[in-house]
């Protein structure tokens, strides 16, 4: 079934259309959620909740719009909701960022292809607040612009830029320092 037909059937309340969309987008959604929620079970909960929300709100979907950006927003919102419910916000999020030791010789990107650095990146991500994680994921994994992220997270572009700046500073410092 083509995606457009699946979307049309989903909007009409046809479970077959819903099934096609779930199977087409569940992996992508689970990966985005898993980057925001390190607990795989929570990530799965978030994606299931997002699919249920997509079903109940399918009439609000504009037929001429792309499904993934619309659904991705639901996934991110559900992931953030679960993360906040678990109290995973890092207090340092709103505080000043220490000056990072980002000297050229400690360039983390030199080694990011190694498994050790991948692990280090994963730990660094977990130390970010859920909001900052979501911003990093949307910016660098999903390739959204700052304006698109601000719209998706319902915040001002200036606020988004501040979060992104702080998140990048922390990543640089934590990756360089070996956490």
């Amino acid at each position: 079934m083509e995606e457009q037909e699946a979307i049309a059937r989903w909007r009409r309340g046809d479970p077959e259309g819903m099934a096609v969309l779930v199977r087409r987008y569940q992996q992508q959604a689970l990966r985005v959620a898993a980057l925001i929620l390190p607990d795989p079970m929570q990530a799965e909960d978030a994606v299931q909740a997002a699919f249920i929300r997509a079903w109940t709100h399918r009439k609000t979907f504009r037929p001429d719009a792309a499904f993934w950006p619309w659904f991705r927003q639901l996934v991110v919102h559900e992931a953030l909701r679960l993360a906040r419910r678990e109290g995973r916000e890092i207090p340092a999020e709103s505080g000043p960022v220490e000056e990072a030791g980002g000297a050229p010789e400690s360039d983390p990107s030199h080694h990011l292809d190694s498994q050790e650095m991948i692990q280090r990146l994963a730990r660094a991500l977990e130390r970010l607040s859920p909001t900052q994680r979501a911003i990093i994921v949307l910016r660098y994994y999903e390739g959204l612009s700052e304006e698109e992220i601000a719209h998706a997270l319902d915040c001002a572009v200036g606020t988004l830029k501040r979060h992104l700046h702080e998140a990048r500073q922390r990543l640089r410092r934590w990756l360089s320092d070996g956490l």
Partner: protein, 410 residues
């Protein structure tokens, strides 16, 4: 910003980060994970349920009705528009009775648009949408609407509904940064209402924004209700010339046609167990049925509540949203319970209560069918004690026939 202190800081590092994120994501998500069976079980259980249904909670009061009504609407998902999603505008929108407007004002980046207006013998309804509201940390701004007549007298609010983001209960969603809402106002305190109504109402609508602590930091996925700040009447005239509590940000001058369709009955007085109870008025209008019952309370120191129900004679088709109660006093009746009840208020020696009731679908198709309005019991409460102080049994039964119909119109 010193980009040297950040990661990533250039295109090459961005590509490396993207690759790193992808590896992490793939390591956490099994490639063969399939959510569909679990979702299918949750979304489409084998025991199919009706496409929609209606739940009631008896004894709702004005001040709590908002939340209860949303709960009652839990089964009414998938409404195609905001105005069909809201309880207070659904039937009017579906019937094409709401006046569509597009009156917009923008100030400081905030745009307020009046999209719907409506007036009939029982209610004045304003539907609005707000775009561009800033959200500061922990604070959101909720719109507060006040309505005035041409003399500057404030018309009391009956109930308000609103939506921020997405609401599963309402089956509707708005884009981030938007708020939509519908507020019902009480025209019964306007001069001559409900018996004599103008063909057109001149109204001044003020929209202000109250900062309130934001509940739940996640954007979207919440709905809110504006609690009714004003009981239907607190004095013989609840209209107030007092200014609204906060400075208005937006002012709209509206001309709203008044739908003339209305049946008005009353007054009738019936005695039961030595207590006279008066159905001061019973008004059927497109926005619903509204009734006012009054009596001289046996003990004026108590707060009184009336238990009310309404019956429609047999032979009428039962609408899905009407509670069916079988037979009453040996006669088959379709019975509806109030959907909104106001507090008793003093009018001279009498204490009076307003109730809103549904219009069953069958009744819409068979106007002229006999209606029985019944007060089964009045209860007196000591404000200091949760137990009833006095239970005065009825019933007081009012048969609404042509003999009791009142002339009404412009």
């Amino acid at each position: 910003m010193d980009e040297r202190s950040e990661f990533p800081r250039n295109v090459a590092e961005e590509a490396q980060l993207r690759e790193g994120l992808d590896q992490i994501a793939r390591s956490r998500v099994p490639s063969d994970r399939d959510l569909w069976p679990a979702l299918q079980a949750r979304l489409f259980p084998s025991a199919s349920r009706p496409a929609w249904w209606w739940r009631r909670a008896p004894g709702w009061a004005w001040r709590t009705a908002g939340l209860m009504l949303v709960l009652a609407l839990a089964g009414m998902a998938y409404a195609p528009s905001l105005w069909e999603a809201f309880f207070s505008t659904r039937l009017l929108e579906q019937g094409g009775k709401l006046q569509a407007l597009s009156l917009s004002q923008t100030r400081d980046g905030i745009t307020v648009t009046v999209e719907r207006a409506y007036a009939d013998a029982n209610r004045i309804v304003i539907g609005y949408r707000v775009q561009g509201l800033p959200v500061s940390s922990g604070i959101s701004r909720h719109p507060q609407l006040t309505l005035e007549d041409p003399e500057g007298r404030r018309i009391p609010e009956l109930i308000g509904e609103g939506l921020v983001g997405a609401s599963e209960a309402l089956g509707a969603a708005l884009p981030p940064g938007e708020i939509g809402g519908a507020v019902s106002f009480d025209p019964w305190e306007l001069p001559g209402w409900p018996f004599h109504r103008p063909g057109m109402l001149s109204l001044r609508l003020r929209v202000a924004f109250l900062p309130v602590p934001q509940e739940g930091a996640a954007p979207g996925a919440m709905h809110f209700f504006i609690p009714s700040q004003t009981a239907p009447t607190e004095t013989p005239s609840a209209l107030s010339a007092e200014p609204p509590p906060s400075a208005p940000s937006f002012v709209f001058d509206l001309k709203v046609p008044v739908v003339s369709e209305a049946e008005i009955y009353g007054p009738q007085t019936v005695r039961a167990h030595g207590l006279d109870l008066t159905l001061a008025r019973w008004v059927r209008a497109p926005s619903g049925i509204r009734a006012r019952v009054c009596f001289v309370p046996p003990d004026p120191s108590l707060v009184w509540t009336a238990i009310v129900e309404q019956g429609f004679a047999t032979g009428l088709e039962v609408a899905p949203n009407v509670r069916m109660e079988g037979t009453v006093s040996g006669r088959a009746l379709t019975v509806t319970a109030p959907i909104l009840m106001g507090p008793f208020t003093w009018r001279g020696e009498q204490t009076c209560q307003d109730v809103f009731l549904d219009i069953p679908g069958g009744m819409e198709r068979d106007r002229g069918g006999r209606v029985v309005f019944r007060v089964t019991e009045v209860i007196g409460w000591d404000p200091q004690n949760p137990e009833p102080a006095v239970r005065w049994p009825g019933p007081w039964e009012f048969s609404l026939s042509a003999d009791h119909q009142q002339p009404s119109g412009p």
